[in-house]
Symmetry: D2
Subunit: 464 residues, 4 copies
């Protein structure tokens, strides 16, 4: 006879079919919740004692039993048994085996519905904290690279076409900003996860005077759920994590794409260390940016998990439905993906060598300071749209003559507009262009250095 059937009782005349048992079991993946489940049960036992349901001795016995199970699992001596469908049933069964009858009292007033929601929230809070630490580490790696390359100028792109010169550090700090928003999102998610459902029973609350405030304090929850029916059927917090994770992975996929493009022979802007490149089983000359490619690809995985959860919840009537069991593998999959992607990126970013020389040459080709010429004319009083038209023609002319803007003579320029004078030369270099972008958020060295300082400060002072 199935062990589960035994636990849920007297009403069933035939046991769960083996196939159904296998199909509905979650122990294969929810085992990772055991530290939370045991911690929860210890706090719950104390609360039952406070409510007069367990005697002091019973409570101690239960707690000792649970602690023993924890040690057994930590050390690898105990192994989960698949005939108990989930982590909760496994632990409860061991407890009863260890401490006898009194173990049967622990589940009083608790349902797996509020129990699993509580475990999952405890677990996720921890993982969010880890995620935020890893984001911060990646931000630090980015800032380090930006600082080490503070004087490097490179082409800034729109439409993957050379557009205007920018500082490499400025470009890198764009990713700092994205990650900054990611941290905020995870922090806000943490706040929404930090609500304790325990005490909601199966759906309606409990019959016993459980001190939920005490319970929350024991378990480190900041808030207590306000409605038992919502508490057991809510998985918003999982979706919140997945949404934040999807945006984060999207950001990493952009950085990955840039690293891949920059590593191409044609761009040649960066060199990834051999330690983070792989070769080809066939072509001996290849050195591939596999890590970046994998991270780019893994964005799809997390987007998929988000879609899974939204689909899962769509149209579900209240309260708990077994569909909800499907939340965990998707969440765990995304957590693992996010954490490993962040870690590997932090390491890889550190090893990247930026080819200052190549970037320096690149910035000289492609008329990147054309906009500065427009502004030169604007300052001489030419309306912007007219100046834009004039410089368009100059670029056209240069292209036909196969020369760059800084090769054109003043005389030639004057044929396009009489407003040009000798000082135009001053503004045609990438350096001049970069220095001219001197407003908040601009790429002038002064602004970028300020931004670096601010970024560094954020790393130190922001809440985890």
């Amino acid at each position: 006879m199935s062990k589960n059937t035994k636990l849920w009782g007297g009403r069933f005349r035939s046991p769960l079919a083996k196939s159904a048992e296998a199909f509905s079991a979650s122990i294969g993946y929810d085992a990772r919740l055991y530290p939370q489940d045991i911690m929860q049960s210890i706090a719950y036992a104390k609360t039952l004692k406070k409510a007069g349901i367990l005697a002091e001795a019973e409570t101690k016995k239960i707690i000792r039993g649970l602690e023993e199970i924890k040690r057994g699992l930590d050390s690898g001596r105990l192994h989960f048994r698949s005939e108990f469908e989930d982590v909760h049933m496994n632990i409860e069964a061991w407890l009863i085996e260890k401490v006898g009858e009194v173990g049967k009292k622990l589940h009083t007033g608790r349902s797996r519905n509020d129990q699993v929601a509580t475990d999952l929230r405890m677990y996720l809070k921890w993982e969010i904290t880890e995620t935020i630490v890893l984001i911060t580490r990646l931000q630090a790696a980015i800032i380090d690279q930006a600082e080490q390359n503070i004087s490097v100028i490179m082409p800034g792109y729109t439409h993957l076409q050379r557009a205007q010169p920018v500082l490499l550090a400025h470009h890198l700090l764009a990713y700092f900003e994205m990650l900054q928003r990611d941290r905020e999102r995870f922090n806000q998610t943490h706040e929404r996860v930090d609500v304790m459902p325990l005490g909601s029973g199966a759906l309606s609350g409990t019959n016993f005077p459980l001190d939920r405030a005490y319970l929350a304090k024991e378990l480190g929850f900041y808030r207590i759920s306000a409605n038992s029916m919502d508490a057991v059927s809510d998985r918003d917090f999982v979706i919140d994590y997945l949404s934040a994770a999807a945006v984060l992975m999207m950001h990493l996929s952009r950085l990955a794409d840039e690293i891949i493009i920059w590593s191409s022979y044609e761009f040649g802007f960066v060199q990834i260390s051999d330690s983070f490149s792989t070769g080809s089983s066939l072509m001996p000359q290849k050195k591939n940016p596999d890590v970046a490619e994998l991270v780019r690809g893994k964005s799809g995985r997390v987007f998929g998990h988000l879609v899974s959860l939204l689909t899962l919840m769509k149209g579900l009537p209240l309260t708990y439905n077994r569909d909800l069991q499907e939340d965990k593998e998707q969440l765990f999959g995304s957590i693992d993906t996010v954490k490993s992607s962040l870690s590997i990126f932090s390491e890889m970013i550190k090893t990247i060598k930026f080819n200052q020389e190549v970037m320096g040459k690149a910035v000289k080709k492609g008329y990147l300071t054309a906009t500065d010429v427009v502004y030169y004319l604007v300052v001489q009083g030419v309306p912007f749209r007219e100046a834009h038209e004039i410089v368009g023609k100059i670029v056209n002319y240069c292209e036909e003559s196969n020369m760059e803007l800084d090769y054109i003579s003043l005389n030639q320029l004057k044929q396009f507009s009489s407003k040009f004078s000798y000082d135009v030369q001053r503004i045609l270099s990438a350096k001049a262009s970069v220095e001219a972008k001197d407003t908040i958020g601009g790429t002038s060295p002064k602004r970028v250095k300020e931004a670096l300082k601010r970024a560094r400060a954020h790393l130190l002072h922001d809440k985890a």
Copy 2:
């Protein structure tokens, strides 16, 4: 020759193909940004003046021109011209037509890259405020129904199986809680939208000493973007809206599903007013909960938009890429869906009649107080798991004898456990069961009334 080509200038030798013009035009949907675009341009003109780029008279002329265009559009006298690809080009062209040469100066230091991001953020801030107001209104409708039906007891369900008695008001307040989280999400999204990209130029900043703080104040932005490259390529704020919208629509789909199930002949718990039901073109007896079905279906639409945007952004190198133009239709589609779904639900909820009598009968069938009997035994000292087993057998016995729990005699009960005594009768009613759930978040009338009071207070005092 194409109007666009004229605006971007001198470099192009052949005009944009008609087909490409049609393909890339966005005026069909970005027209709705015109109030923001004009408001932006007015503030921008003032800032140019402050920076010494426009003279006082020029500024006034431009502002008057823009205001005139605004009036023309508001009144329907002006019509967007499809030969100008987008709302920005349309307005700039009109401005030049109206005020002449000076109109050509307005775009100085601005790019459509920062311009459109600014318009979109201004627009979205407004729409989020509207969304939040509509959520609040739906919450109010829910609270009203909960208060009007404060004494109604109904079956609470898990797995769509009758589980335990709950107050209808408690059930309804579960949705209040969901919507409360939705409000929080939209508020946080608002904060992330409330950042001004204007002044970032095409990607690197601007050459002119624009006072971005002044500009932000004029436009009502709380923060200023810190990195120009991030500012023009960031669409996180759109995804933030869509994520919040997806979760909200998921919540509504759950409420919709319950309304549909409750409206069935078999459940018969609610009656939707004729004003919110539709009939059949074939079957004259039909009265269908179409509004709820449509809202349930529309969740898919918003999930789809979220996927679209994540896909859109995946793997895009910095900075602006034309792909980004695809953000708007998806965002607008979700905004419209969310707002109309919230509105119609507020109205429909008000008209719902809950069938107290049907619910009252329902709560008596299905052994909903079995858990209370378990707890009765627990209080008599029977360990929970044993009590659970005993009551399982009692239910089994009742089912075979085709009777409900409150029909069983004390003698019969005693055959299952000697712990039963006459007072068990006291706990077998739905009313007793509900009253017993008297902890925070539980369904006891006392707790639910408190929750209602708190909910009402939230409506009044929470930030919009």
Copy 3:
């Protein structure tokens, strides 16, 4: 030094970082491809011999080595080593260990790019065949239930409102039709999978005169890829499987939802056997349709995998990119989900008891034959829209008088239309209504029996 680095060679100065090795390893999930990989290598060795690259003795040695590895893995004696990143590298390493130098010749002209695509296609062909068998089995279970309940009439629903009487068998056969389309989709997917990429090399083809037709015959492929660059970068066949799987799971989610609704106390149409129901850890009276709920929830999982793969492929330049490695876990996850869901549904469907009596009663309430009354009037010459209006009023009257249509007297009917005569009584029963739907696809017993016969024939004669 990393084992991988050894295999790809001489160019690398520093080994792959441990973290990068762990991050990029796929052996954790691609191990399941080993039978295909070995079978492929055996056929490949033969083809190399045919091309004069391997001697007869060398070929035999390699084949014996591969067969030995296969036996080792089958029996569990050999264990994959994580320092070799994937299944291909593991097997190649063992081969070299076993047969020495000659093992180093096997990879001649082959790249992991075409190798893994070939393995995956071989594997997927097998799994599609399995999937189709399982679909057929579920169809058989549905037909069996339909035949056993051939005389049962139940309410047909639109909008979850009772609409018209239908045969339960007719309702069940709707799912047969869906599954029939699913089979077609998987068959077509099979044809698109059945194309051999091997011989495409890394991307451009191979330098050796490999007889690809011979190779395809040995490996059981029907077609040979026509373009090497497409062959190594194409994952359409994975998406084809996932699309078909998503639609199939959507169908199962609909059946699941109906089973859940029908199992509710309120509907009471079906009883799932105890062997496929689960109880509650808290509420002893509960019997929940968990299997159906899990299958409904698992639809989200497969939708998510489809999104992952589409995202993965979006915007990837040719040819092979490491992103593609992310295809496998999603595909394997969906295969496992689809197969287990189909299996468990076949079993569960068999155990379902339909409550003929409850359905029989249900069909009498809710004016289900109102449309038949409309048609009665139409036959008497009343235009359809008028007849519809008249019967609408009759239903209204009945509802106010709290009676069903078959209780209304002829006199009362005549007050709504003079066209009614005594024979109207004949058409008011569910049985008469069902029998009247006697066109192709209709629910009349005659048509449904024909449909059952056709369905049975499809099971026998359709290509797997």
Copy 4:
């Protein structure tokens, strides 16, 4: 009073609320189905006559009325009225206005449930045919470019790293292959769409002896739906279109990404004509591949629609539910996106100029023939893995000496392996490398010319 309420009848006591009317109306987008709806109604009228429900004169009157409405709509004289919720109600109302009482007979035995499914299938069949024609056109443009550039050699890439030389024509034909599969998918979808639901009534069939075979012939349907309940609730065919469309758009996004990368200054492989490029409102030198970027971005739109429809259908009980109305806007959106993307790509591809010289130079840098050197050694008897290792070291040496493979002297080569002799020089050119790939699917000029011939033949002879 609402017009809708009038049509569905006598039972309703209060009209549909204005807001609910607006919310549920579909006339805003289903208007495009009017040609199908009218054609359907004409065939339906004939079938009613055949069944003895309409007299000859009535039938003629109705048909004339419908034809008149068609002309009115075609010419723009008639305008849809929003007080009738959908295209069907609009046309029925006009018909009654025009032909009087007899118009009220047309809906006999038909429900909007089977009517709309039939309209949608008729419409979609047409659009699929159009889609296939547009795919073929794009394939033709690709073949043309391949033929015109038949002798151009370019670097083939894996991981965006130069890998081996390939013919540009070979690269282009990879896209031909993808589009070939797309055509197959759309053809198969067409077959699944080509099933007539009409005659299924609301859900159970019809009471009248409609000759569905005749009806199908009149409407050009190949098959007739076999189960009425499936027929009215099935939207697989919409999902089939969206799946095929998603894969197609994914293919276009890959081609788009390559065009964008190839257009970059750094690659410089292609030049898009000015007619398909756009400029910048700020930077006068810019010429952007906007069309390719938009198509890449639009892939997200179609992925989103697919997700919407899957979500929509998830967990819907049989049969028709109003949720299904949400199918149309998504489908129409994808059809429009797919068609316009294919059209614009056909045009743009034609204008692309491939820079043969740049590609020719590119192929000389990056050790692209290293694999050929490995194979040279293999032919001399060196086991593949050893040869791979040797050539890896040679590449390393070349890189340190900053030279390409064809600059290395025989003496130097001999230091790495004694197997090298003077003839190695023969295999070091890109041309030799390409010619050596002479198996099916390989990039040798002979094979590619054959492939081109086959491709051309497919265009002419394939169905649709």
